[in-house]
Amino acid sequence: MAPLLEVRGLEAQYGWTKVLHGLTFSVEEGGITTILGANGAGKTTTLRAVCGMVRTRGEVTFDGRPIAGRATEDLVRLGIAHVPEGRGTFVNLTVEENLRLGAYARGGAGLGDDMARVFQYFPVLMERRRQTAGTLSGGEQQMLAVARGLMARPRLLLLDEPSLGLAPLVVREIFRIVRTINREQRVSVLLVEQNASLALRLASHAYLIETGRVVMSGPAAELRENETVRRAYLGY
């Protein structure tokens, strides 16, 4: 089966500084793929490059269609929901308004059903639906960010470090929900993480990047067993 997202020779730069040096990777339909790497390796930039949020070169195809150079606003209409670094929550808007915005590109048909479904995964958001998002805890805001992404009915969910700044228990809870969503909604996931041990347990396929290049890739189970990965990223 052809991969849902295929990226070839991806380069990206901020000003004069090149951050990605020809990245090649792919995301299988229905699977969870993770990109691991240390701070500054280019993980976030990779997702931003896929979504046209930074100047890039290289080939990006989604569902067989080239999407490189497409405007960020269009990607969600093609079926890619990006949950950005730092969650990107609209802090002055209510939880419900945040979710409505998630469905904005679809024109809002079936809004009620989708919201009900999202509340099943994240019951706490149901309780807080009338609160402004800024009053939520970090974990709840991350849940809201994922929920907002789901409201777009995406085929591919891009998650940028959902574990950032959260307590380990909360992170585990969120990862568990992501797995459930992946199974039940048939949403493919591309997860970018610093927390390698959790990410490798969740994902089926993994890429390891260092300074903007893929240095290793394979089934997640294989990377987990790899000596180098274990020493450098898993810490035992």
Binding site: M53, F90, Y104
Partner: protein, 293 residues
């Protein structure tokens, strides 16, 4: 007592107009960090459009609605054509562009319509309204009502429609808005259109009071700045309330403090800007801006 009540109501009427222009300023400032110095002058252009329509024999409310439509489209186009290219430019660049617009509109109006003051009709009866022993100017009451209606309509638009929600989102977090598929550029343009529309209402409501000439809004823009500063440049509701407060204070001070009278009224507005900036720079309802360095 009766005079006090009259002065308060007439203060609220002009205050509503200051508040509207202040709201237009705040809307654009919130979305783009631009202080649109041309806001008042744009409103004068709208008012002249209304004047031309009325002169051509169009009934008042038809001319009113047509002016709103033209103003909306005009504001939208202005953003797309003139402001868009300087989006993200240094503050001074944008300020100069706005002042340039002000000067161009002002001169163009003077050229086309001359600088001679023109009477502008009020849609409300000449006869004052009598409540008990107190007489209220019908135009004051009418203008206040129109202003309030427009504000309620705007509130409902922003609060209850998807487009309004998208516009609030775009003003707050452009990056996340793009990820949600919101076309942020267009939201900003619509914001300019709405601001221009609000200004048009303010212009048409104030023109019967001050008579129409190309410099009509110069003083009112300063009152609007006082209103926005008082209410807080980051708070739409605060700007409107600030406008009402400024309007009432201006009127009362003009009536009861004799050395100020009508000539020094504008000084009151400037003094209020100064005091607010010294005592509470974020205004009554504004947020304090925190910048990470």
């Amino acid at each position: 007592m009766d005079i006090l009540l009259q002065q308060i109501v007439s203060g609220l009427a002009t205050g509503g107009i200051y508040g509207s222009v202040a709201l237009a300023l705040v809307m654009i400032y919130e979305a783009t960090d631009i202080v649109n110095f041309a806001q008042g002058q744009m409103a004068v252009v709208s008012t002249y459009i209304a004047w031309s329509l009325l002169n051509a024999g169009v009934p008042y409310w038809a001319a009113f609605v047509a002016t709103l439509a033209v103003s909306f489209v005009g504001g939208l186009l202005l953003e797309r054509i003139v402001i868009r290219p300087v989006e993200g430019a240094p503050v001074l660049t944008v300020v100069i562009v706005c002042i340039g617009l002000l000067v161009i509109f002002n001169s163009a109006l003077g050229w086309v319509y001359s600088y001679i003051q023109k009477p502008f009709p009020s849609p409300f009866p000449d006869r004052p309204l009598r409540v008990g022993n107190v007489y209220f100017g019908a135009h004051d009451i009418g203008a206040l009502a129109v202003t309030i209606l427009v504000l309620i309509a705007l509130y409902c638009f922003f609060q209850f429609t998807t487009l309004g929600l998208a516009m609030r989102a775009a003003a707050q977090n452009p990056t996340s808005s793009r990820l949600c598929g919101i076309r942020v550029g267009w939201m900003l343009a619509i914001g300019w259109g709405l601001a221009s529309l609000i200004g048009a209402v303010a212009g048409m409501m104030v023109a019967p009071i001050v008579t129409l000439d190309p410099n009509m809004m110069a003083g009112i823009l300063i009152y609007a700045f006082a209103s926005a500063t008082l209410g807080g440049f980051t708070s739409p509701g605060g700007a409107v309330l600030g406008g009402l407060i400024v309007g009432v204070i201006e009127n009362l001070v003009g009536t009861y403090v004799h050395f100020i009278g009508t000539e020094l009224k504008l000084t009151v507005a400037l003094a209020m800007i100064l005091i607010v900036l010294l005592v509470r720079p974020s205004g009554l309802f504004g947020r304090t801006a925190v910048h990470r360095v």
